[in-house]
């Protein structure tokens, strides 16, 4: 009989989950959409995300129209009426091309979501492995530290850090990040969500550490590093992958919230969050400027949440990994007796 690796079984299970596959398809489509930004900007719209067209006129279906009307209302979607220029209209008084901004803004949002998820994962896996493997005071120090970060409402901690760092940027030794850099929201979001992932991983390591295969490795003379990365880490992958996917979704929501409050992405960079915040000022005259970037966030986050659920079911149908979009997940931990 042919043996199947657990990964193969998971893959087969995932392949038969049509909803999860559709969600993955949607996510890939969104990624392709934002990656095509320069193509659309150069070949179709002939403008950049920050280029202003305040006093220009364009020809829509043979008719001359202001990009921004004298009362300050931007032009609405013209679809292909102007050969692809201002497909979704202009973004406000500055008359920037909304479609181009949507594509470039999506790059920022997705990039922040991914990069922050990577940071969270690295920190959480590192801390979880250390605490779970060494136990004792290492565990005590790490766990208390995580408890303290965990006690902040996520959004307030993000805002506090965002505001403090927006004043003068960040300087740690040779590492220097200017105050307008998108690495500031990335670091903040990555940091803020760390306890939500590190705590369950620590729990899992604590349980795995008691298993015979760890004992066997130690008996063969494997050192701590070897046990942590050679024995424990491979058993954590399924948890890590699921958390990582759901984490990207939550990061994108937090980025949008922080940017909306002015503590996230700083101009001239733009993201879907800053676009909603800019559009909100014109909600009564141009509601689409608020609606469209929000729909993009909704679709992206939804696709990641659905796909993440599918992954979880495929990788471990019995596991109950839950990552919450807000402060307050609590998993009663099982401590080894």
């Amino acid at each position: 009989m042919k043996s199947r690796s657990p990964w193969r079984i998971a893959y087969r299970r995932l392949r038969s989950n049509r909803v999860a596959l559709a969600a993955l398809g949607l996510f890939v489509a969104i990624v392709v959409f934002v990656l095509a930004a320069p193509l659309w900007a150069n070949e179709v719209a002939h403008t950049g995300p920050n280029a202003t067209h305040t006093v220009e006129k364009i020809t829509v279906d043979g008719e001359r129209r202001d990009v921004v009307s004298p009362d300050g209302t931007p032009i609405g979607p013209v679809w292909l009426g102007a050969d692809g220029r201002f497909f979704l209209g202009a973004d406000g008084r500055l008359g920037r091309d909304e479609m181009v901004r949507l594509m470039y803004g999506g790059r920022t949002s997705l990039f922040i979501g991914l990069a922050a998820a990577l940071i969270t994962t690295l920190l959480a896996v590192g801390l979880g492995l250390l605490a779970g493997y060494f136990r004792g005071w290492t565990d005590a120090v790490i766990s208390r530290l995580l408890d303290v970060i965990w006690a902040f409402p996520v959004i307030l901690l993000g805002i506090a850090l965002g505001t403090a760092l927006a004043v003068g940027g960040l300087q740690i030794g040779p590492l220097s990040i200017s105050s307008g850099s998108i690495w500031i929201p990335i670091l903040i979001i990555g940091f803020v969500y760390t306890p939500y992932m590190a705590r369950p991983i620590r729990g899992e390591v604590l349980a795995l550490r008691e298993k015979e295969f760890v004992e066997a490795a130690v008996a063969q003379g494997a050192g701590p590093l070897r046990v942590m990365f050679g024995e424990l880490l491979p058993n954590l992958w399924s948890t890590i992958i699921v958390f990582f996917t759901l984490n990207i979704a939550n990061n994108m929501l937090l980025e949008a919230a922080l940017s909306f409050l002015g503590a996230g992405v700083q101009p001239p960079n733009s993201s879907w969050g800053t676009m909603i915040s800019g559009g909100y000022e014109l909600i009564y005259s141009a509601p689409l400027l608020t609606i469209i970037p929000g729909v993009m966030i909704l679709l992206t986050v939804l696709s990641l949440n659905v796909f993440g659920d599918g992954l979880r079911d495929a990788l471990d149908p019995k596991s109950k990994v839950e990552l919450e979009a807000h402060a307050g997940t609590f998993e009663p931990e099982e401590e080894p007796v």
Partner: protein, 319 residues
């Protein structure tokens, strides 16, 4: 029991102390500039900067500075540097609006979360379940402030069903109070309804395979009674935990976006306005205020658990 409670409360004080130190560090060490300069404002004279340095104790070593700042907060003397208003008073002024918003939303999200979760689990795999699952997923995938903005646009501007924001004190006019809060309540509740109904659904489905449920059925209890009295009741425990923590987080500033968009004038909106002005003292005070509520509810949940489950108060979790 009393010993456990005392231990947890002592732990709570420690965590709050650690949080206050972290908040202090965030605002006094991370920013790459002279704090006195920032407090005094952009066009401050050197004399003003020197006065501020003196008053806040910025020339002292860090632990001394920490004590000075905390003294200002806890004696109610912390002053905002954009409006010169007393920060503690401003926070207290926002508390009724914040509590009105949070309590109402909590009632909504618990009722609908439990209702939807129960229906979903009972009808697992059928159309009702699928529809509710989709709704729940959409609910947790939406930016809250975006939902608020869309509701505001369609229900107060396009169709003028609701007032476009603002807060009317309950003592002034209870009907107007509720009328102004309907949209904020719904907005804040949506995320939690989605999340709670999903958690409850999976808990109930797990519980349905438990031995005690089989026993209940074997005793000849009706299906409805088994579901409500046995399955639902046992599945609610994690929901109650979540509720304690989420409620703490929402009161402690988590409602910042909903409050700002509906212009409720609560604690969260105060924080949002302070951010816009880079006004650090109020942000610092509100962050501490928020952390206090999270830690408080966290502790209350732990104590409630210990009360309900002796294994926790005597067991290994407190090692």
């Amino acid at each position: 029991m009393a010993r456990f409670a005392v231990r947890r409360l002592a732990g709570m004080v420690l965590v709050l102390f650690a949080i206050s130190v972290i908040v202090f560090l965030i605002f006094n060490v991370i920013p790459n500039s002279d704090p006195a300069q920032r407090i005094a404002g952009k066009n401050a004279t050197p004399q003003l900067v020197a006065n501020v340095t003196e008053e806040w104790g910025f020339d002292e070593p860090l632990p001394g500075q920490y004590l000075t700042t905390m003294k200002l907060i806890f004696t109610g003397q912390l002053v905002s540097y954009s409006s010169q208003l007393n920060v503690d008073e401003q926070i207290w002024e926002g508390v009724p609006a914040t509590l009105s918003l949070c309590i109402g939303a909590a009632v909504l999200w618990m009722s609908f979360g439990i209702l939807f979760g129960y229906l979903s689990a009972v009808k697992a795999g059928r159309l009702t379940d699928r529809a509710l699952t989709v709704l729940a997923l959409v609910g947790i995938s939406m930016p809250v402030f975006w939902l608020a903005a869309i509701l505001l646009y369609y229900l107060t501007f396009k169709v003028q069903l609701f007032p476009s924001g603002g807060y009317v004190p309950l003592t002034e006019n209870p009907l107007d109070w509720a009328y102004h809060l309907v949209l904020p309540w719904i907005t804040l509740a949506v995320l939690f309804v989605g999340f709670y109904s999903r958690v409850l659904r999976s808990n109930m489905l797990d519980a349905m395979n438990e031995d005690y449920v089989r026993t209940a059925r074997a005793k000849g209890l009706g299906e409805r009674r088994v579901r409500v009295r046995h399955v639902l009741r046992n599945s609610l425990i994690p929901i109650v935990t979540l509720f304690g923590l989420d409620f703490g987080a929402v009161v402690g500033g988590g409602a910042i976006l909903v409050e700002s968009i509906f212009n409720l004038g609560g604690v969260g909106q105060y924080a949002a306005e302070s951010i816009a002005n880079l006004d650090l003292p109020p942000i610092m005070a509100v962050t501490l205020f928020g952390a206090f509520f999270v830690v408080l509810f966290n502790t209350l949940v732990d104590i409630a658990y210990a009360y309900l489950d002796p294994r926790i108060r005597l067991g290994t979790s407190a090692q």
